[in-house]
Symmetry: C2
Subunit: 212 residues, 2 copies
């Protein structure tokens, strides 16, 4: 298809697609003369991925490029590629100084939580710093995460994670793409569903349900 059809199919502007091409975010089409090129399903797919990362998940361009490189060249160790890909997603924590203190890497709250849940504690994994920061914030606000609460959250989230991981494709590039899009785009779904679950549970508890 021509670039105008590619734009129509993906709901993009031609100028946006040209920008993606110029920035190397997608491979060029097959040349059909000096001013025309032909695009196929792989281009449609790539545009959807770029739009999801840039426009929906809000990644800056250099992060989008980083994720695409990991999708295109996942390397031999898919597990560590996954870690790098997910680390390219927001939130971006800025006080990198806290990561390597003089006594080595230290995330006391996150470490305690992982030990309590019986999960591996890998301080190099980006979500560990994210958890430490989040646990500091709830403690500072006077609503620290309790042991029982952590156990309930950990069990429920592991149930969801097991389901997600069972569905990942076998092929490394597809695995990385799936994990990145799934992490970035399902997080808003989960937060909205959680707020709706709260509403449902609160209606039952407060005996004051909304009008149907």
């Amino acid at each position: 298809m021509r670039i105008s059809e590619l734009a129509a199919t993906t709901g993009s502007n031609v100028s946006t697609i040209k920008y993606y091409l110029r920035e190397g975010l997608m491979p060029p089409g097959v040349s059909r003369g000096a001013t025309q090129a032909d695009y196929g399903p792989a281009h449609v797919h790539r545009i959807r991925v770029v739009k999801a990362l840039a426009e929906v998940a809000g990644l800056p361009l250099h992060r989008v490029r980083e994720v695409l490189r990991l999708i295109d060249e996942p390397g031999e160790d898919t597990f560590s590629t996954l870690g790098r890909a997910v680390a390219a997603l927001p939130p971006y924590l800025h006080d990198a100084g806290a990561q390597e203190s003089e006594s080595g890497t230290d995330y006391p709250l996150a470490r305690a939580a992982m030990e309590s849940l019986g999960q591996v504690f890998d301080p190099g994994y980006a979500a560990v710093a994210q958890l430490e920061r989040a646990l500091q914030a709830v403690a500072a606000a006077g609503i620290p995460l309790g042991d029982e609460q952590l156990a309930v959250y950990g069990r429920s989230l592991m149930e969801m994670a097991e389901y997600d991981i069972a569905g990942i494709p076998g092929e490394p590039a597809a695995t990385v793409e799936h994990a990145v899009l799934g992490t970035a785009l399902y997080e808003p779904v989960i937060l909205a569903l959680r707020r709706l679950a709260h509403q449902d549970a609160a209606a039952r508890r407060l005996g004051d349900p909304p009008r149907p």
Copy 2:
């Protein structure tokens, strides 16, 4: 205590506290002469709440004020106060035009999801628009939420929500404050725990665990 002690206790600057006072985000202290005022535990608590909302959850000032007003004057219907308070939290969806179409309020994806989960569908609740948007995004990226996946997510999140709601205080003002802080500050905890659960489940599935 004096304002300098209040600042030290809450890890704030005196100028920040004066700003909160000027903006009416906290009640004045008890006057101790022309230039001094005395502050107590209620001020310490209020500063923690304001900081959590403004600095951690990232609410703009007018939203912080809105939440504080709902905490201070929860009204007779705690359930609907809760809805308004949670609606003051991010994400803020800008295309309000989509909310009231000519054929009335319409969130087809969110409605189908709520019906499938057997939960109340209340289009006036802010999280419904949030869910609709999130479900549109996963569909556009080619990874729509499947029925089985929705069932797994819905069940796990309801388990967490039931636990949260069982722990809310009985007194309306405390309930509203607890719900707002819990929603805003536990969401980052949950997303970090989910990424860590994925890492744990992926390590088992890919047979390539990180070095302990």
